[in-house]
Symmetry: C2
DNA sequence: GCAAAAGTGTTTTGTCTACACCCATGA
DNA sequence: TCATGGGTGTAGACAAAACACTTTTGC
């Protein structure tokens, strides 16, 4: 039975399958995407998303994790599949089907050596340079998805440092939505979900009075990750 | 440059890429999914989603359209990509990456000969039999996505006949959400979007009084398809 | 005239938005 | 003492939810 199956399948075309990663980070002011300067042809020297090919004995998800690790050195990153881009002409070099993933990382968690190696650089999402192939559409779609995701999930957990001020969280949401938000309404809504814990410690870097730090309540956060809570 | 690119790429593994279609229909009472009895090994005789392989010179989207046409005979069907399933072990017969698509069709638009040929059958979504491989997860994910989609888009246009009664539209939404909805509130909301036009014609099949038929205002519907309108 | 489905409004509740002032502190 | 960012509450608008009776007509 197994053998017959294999025989049956051998008749079909095989394609190269790639993974491309849209990596978002937040520096406290701007939402940024991590791009690399492509080191090989075609389009050598152009800006591109970090990508790579799926191996025969490798899950597609695993390939995404591997590729992300190549660039960041980080193994456990928030990541989700975005979309499969499958046009025959999308890559002029060869027929390559690409599965795009988007990842959220803490922007200071970077490995300078790896960044150097791949000529990686953070770009504010409002100032993305020309990208190869269909990478610009991937990035735009990822931006949409992040927005949608942020509306029912407090993505701050993935993008902010362990402890952060309410202003930082607000700034993150303003960056994601590219508009100003009302400080009081935002605070109210996010606190009402109960996923934040206020610490007895203040960040005195940006003001004389100092702003309280918050941390995410990991347990509640995980619960919400499954069910979701609309708060935007 | 082109040549170098090709050379570069030749080193990577090639995989078979399949497309599987989750096809939803609505018979006036129940939401149903179209399944086929698999005609070849492995898992011959088991129920399965309609699927096929992507050809080397074919867009992945085009493959989905082709495969859907094979089964239904219909060329212009509402369809969207759902997710790419890429585990190495998902298909025991071979390494196959599958891109799942979900489609909405009018249940009476069927071609008996083609259905016969593929041993196709409609199953109520509450009574889906065991399916091969990971097709059950595909179907569950599609159900989720349909629900989400229906919340900001009047999917009725794709699933109902050209003219339909308010009760039919309500029944569709009750089937999608698997719960009862308030008739008055539903009517109010859907009418307030302005995408329905009331005809001067009644369906007298289900009651003595008769229920007015409605049609979708195609233009407004298309506008809403882009922007979306929350009405659930 | 009665059974069976169609059609229709109002009240209440909760949520979202807009909006401005005092507080604490370091310099 | 003053300049700077931090922190907080309320009123009005709007949307959502709950809820029941009258209408039509074929039998």
């Amino acid at each position: 039975m197994r053998r017959m199956g294999i025989k049956q399948y051998e008749d079909h075309d095989r394609l190269m399958v790639a993974v491309d990663c849209i990596i978002f980070g937040f520096d406290g002011k701007e939402l940024k995407a991590l791009l690399i300067k492509r080191g090989f042809e075609p389009e050598q020297g152009k800006w591109s998303l970090m990508g790579g090919f799926v191996k025969k004995q490798e899950n597609v998800d695993a390939a995404a994790v591997r590729i992300l690790k190549q660039l960041t050195g980080l193994a456990s990153i928030y990541m989700e599949q975005l979309y499969c881009f499958g046009d025959t002409k999308r890559d002029p070099g060869a027929r390559v089907v690409s599965v795009a993933y988007f990842a959220l990382i803490r922007i200071d968690n970077y490995n300078a050596a790896l960044f150097e190696k791949h000529h990686a650089k953070w770009f504010p999402i409002a100032k993305i340079p020309a990208l190869i192939f269909d990478h610009k559409s991937m990035l735009l779609l990822a931006k949409e998805r992040l927005r949608q995701k942020a509306s029912y999930l407090p993505v701050g957990f993935e993008l902010l440092p362990d402890k952060f001020t309410m202003q930082q969280l607000l700034a993150l949401y303003e960056a994601i939505y590219e508009r100003e938000l009302d400080k009081r309404n935002f605070t109210k809504k996010i606190l009402s979900t109960g996923i934040l814990q206020k610490l007895n410690e203040k960040d005195k870097l940006t003001s004389k009075k100092g702003a309280f730090y918050f941390v995410f309540d990991k347990e509640k956060y995980d619960r919400i990750s499954h069910e979701g809570v609309g708060f935007m």
